[in-house]
Symmetry: C2
Subunit: 340 residues, 2 copies
């Protein structure tokens, strides 16, 4: 049951390991005859080069590491899919890990990946993370790193993000243009950059249309959850009975909003329009179907891999590596929680 090696082939054929290796790799300094017999035998014995030996020799494993905050999450699992598909296309495999939004876990896992000596690392920073020495370390060791989705200005490396500001702007713009005058925003945690960007987009849209911005109309949902939506729309309705539009940080929050509005017999979109964010599976299944923003998750994964491979190849060829920043466009999905 032993794995067949170059040595085995060499022994059987009564030649040296060197020659076998060269024959297999198509070196020109081996005769056509021996080359053929080596090829044949290798084929018959089903010889497969030992990946471990190759890794050691080449100092690379054709493997990349991937850390996301949460694997079983619609957005991230689509990113993962994109990453894996694009990596595979280029002869790389992916080791996936989940930080659970924990800074400690993130650090530990980056260590693990480096210890494993992956050829490069793809990372969406955990919400909890606020300092970035661990990322500096990676760059210092010259391990290719690209950040996606959750990124930071602080670190100088390639990044791929969603244009959250623009997306949020589009969402709120649609709300206003369909007639909304008083729009509340159920925003995400203060720490999260995405949440901040979307909030900014909300502001910009209000400003553009000359609507006043009232900080009292922004509510903080730190859980991105359905119950967050339920809770805050209740408060919002009490504080602003005349609100006619809701822009939420996430489809799940919007789902909660929709539930409460339905329970309170508030007509959607006639009395109140609702815009979600993410285009998760749930959005098309809600009733009424939720208008939302589609994020190109799979494409983001693919893009991140391509950026990473650029760095990996650049490094191998000892070329000066340059970093890129890609912003992916989102798509406005009009369904039935907004007026035409």
């Amino acid at each position: 049951m032993k794995e067949v090696t170059l040595k085995d082939i060499a022994q059987i054929l009564g030649i040296s390991v060197t020659t076998v290796s060269k024959a297999l790799k198509g070196y020109k300094d081996v005769s056509e005859d021996t080359r053929r017999s080596v090829m044949m035998l290798a084929e018959n014995l089903n010889y497969k080069p030992n990946a471990f030996a190759l890794n050691l020799k080449n100092k690379e494993s054709k493997t990349i590491g991937l850390i996301v905050p949460e694997i079983a999450h619609h957005f991230f699992s689509n990113i993962i899919q994109g990453v894996i598909a694009e990596a595979e296309k280029n002869g790389y495999m992916v080791i996936a890990l989940q930080s659970s939004e924990s800074n400690y876990v993130e650090k530990k896992q980056l260590e693990m990946l480096m210890d494993k000596r992956v050829d490069g690392i793809l990372l969406a920073i955990a919400d909890e993370t606020e300092t970035y020495e661990h990322l500096e370390d990676i760059l210092k060791k010259e391990i290719p790193l690209v950040l996606f989705d959750k990124v930071t200005e602080t670190i100088n490396c390639s990044k791929v993000t969603i244009d959250d500001k623009k997306a949020a702007f589009q969402a709120v713009d649609l709300l206003i243009r369909s007639g909304c005058k008083k729009i509340v925003h159920l925003r995400g945690p203060l720490g999260a950059p995405n949440a901040a960007d979307r909030h900014e987009g909300y502001l910009t849209a209000l400003k553009k249309h000359g609507l006043v911005y009232d900080p009292k109309m922004v509510y903080l949902c730190d859980g991105y959850s359905v119950s967050d939506g339920r809770k805050h729309i209740d408060i919002a309705l009490k504080e602003h009975p005349d609100l006619d539009g809701v822009f939420t940080i996430t489809d799940h929050v919007a789902a909660g909003v929709l539930q409460r509005l339905h329970e309170k017999k508030v007509k959607v979109p006639e009395s109140v329009s609702v815009m979600g964010f993410s285009n998760s599976v749930i959005s098309s299944v809600l009733s009424p179907a939720l208008s939302t923003i589609d994020q190109p998750a799979t494409q983001m994964g693919r893009e991140a891999v391509n950026l990473l491979l650029k760095e990996i190849n650049g490094r191998r060829e000892k070329k000066k590596i340059e970093h890129f920043q890609v912003q992916l466009p989102t798509k406005l999905i009009k369904r039935n929680t907004t007026k035409p």
Copy 2:
């Protein structure tokens, strides 16, 4: 920027590589003095053993391969999460791959994983796969393999599955006990074993309660999709205007059913009760909230890893390895599409 090796430490300290290695690994035949200085220096230089060299030496990579039909799928991404978590707990990392239900891709990816020399493989067989020589090959090479979710009798290895029959039985049983007399089943593709098992559970429940089984009341949804649900409930309502219960292969199909019932002003659950299957994210967000069956996806992943680790360890210790078959229990989730 070179990685620091045992050799580096040895040179600096003016001792041999052997001694350094032994000092680090706590061998007793190295003096306390040298041990300490080695430890110190290793710490200072931030020495990390070269994983590639270790792999080659130990003939193992502490890495397992995982193939699922689809990564960006609620059920599977939860399995992946379980797999990764449990693997990490035991010092293993996971290379994830997606077969897209294609037999060709499945074969290719198994090859890739073997070439990478993963320590073991976790596989959910693709729908398309009907012959199993490629799996036999793996067993022949004595590479630990465990099948999960989509399995086959043909192959003799450890397996972990959901008890679909029992789950479906429970679902239909609930329907009947809450008063349903005429229950249609929107089933999955004929090829899929899960679909067959759930159909069987449906039959058993009918039989147990003395209800007649009418093949005309079973409809084939080959896409597991919302539109499948919409389409087939329409037909079902036409063919059986007096139906009072629906059991679907999947929550998404149920979502379609719910939509059409709502559009046709059919009261749920008063006139018609609906049972889904999977407990996907959408189920709690539908209105009314969908009663369904919860599948312990994460636990399935963990279980599969544990089974695999057993085989890996057994193999290393050259013990006779025995295979296990685990059936995970599901949980009935009563929400608002069934009467109390």
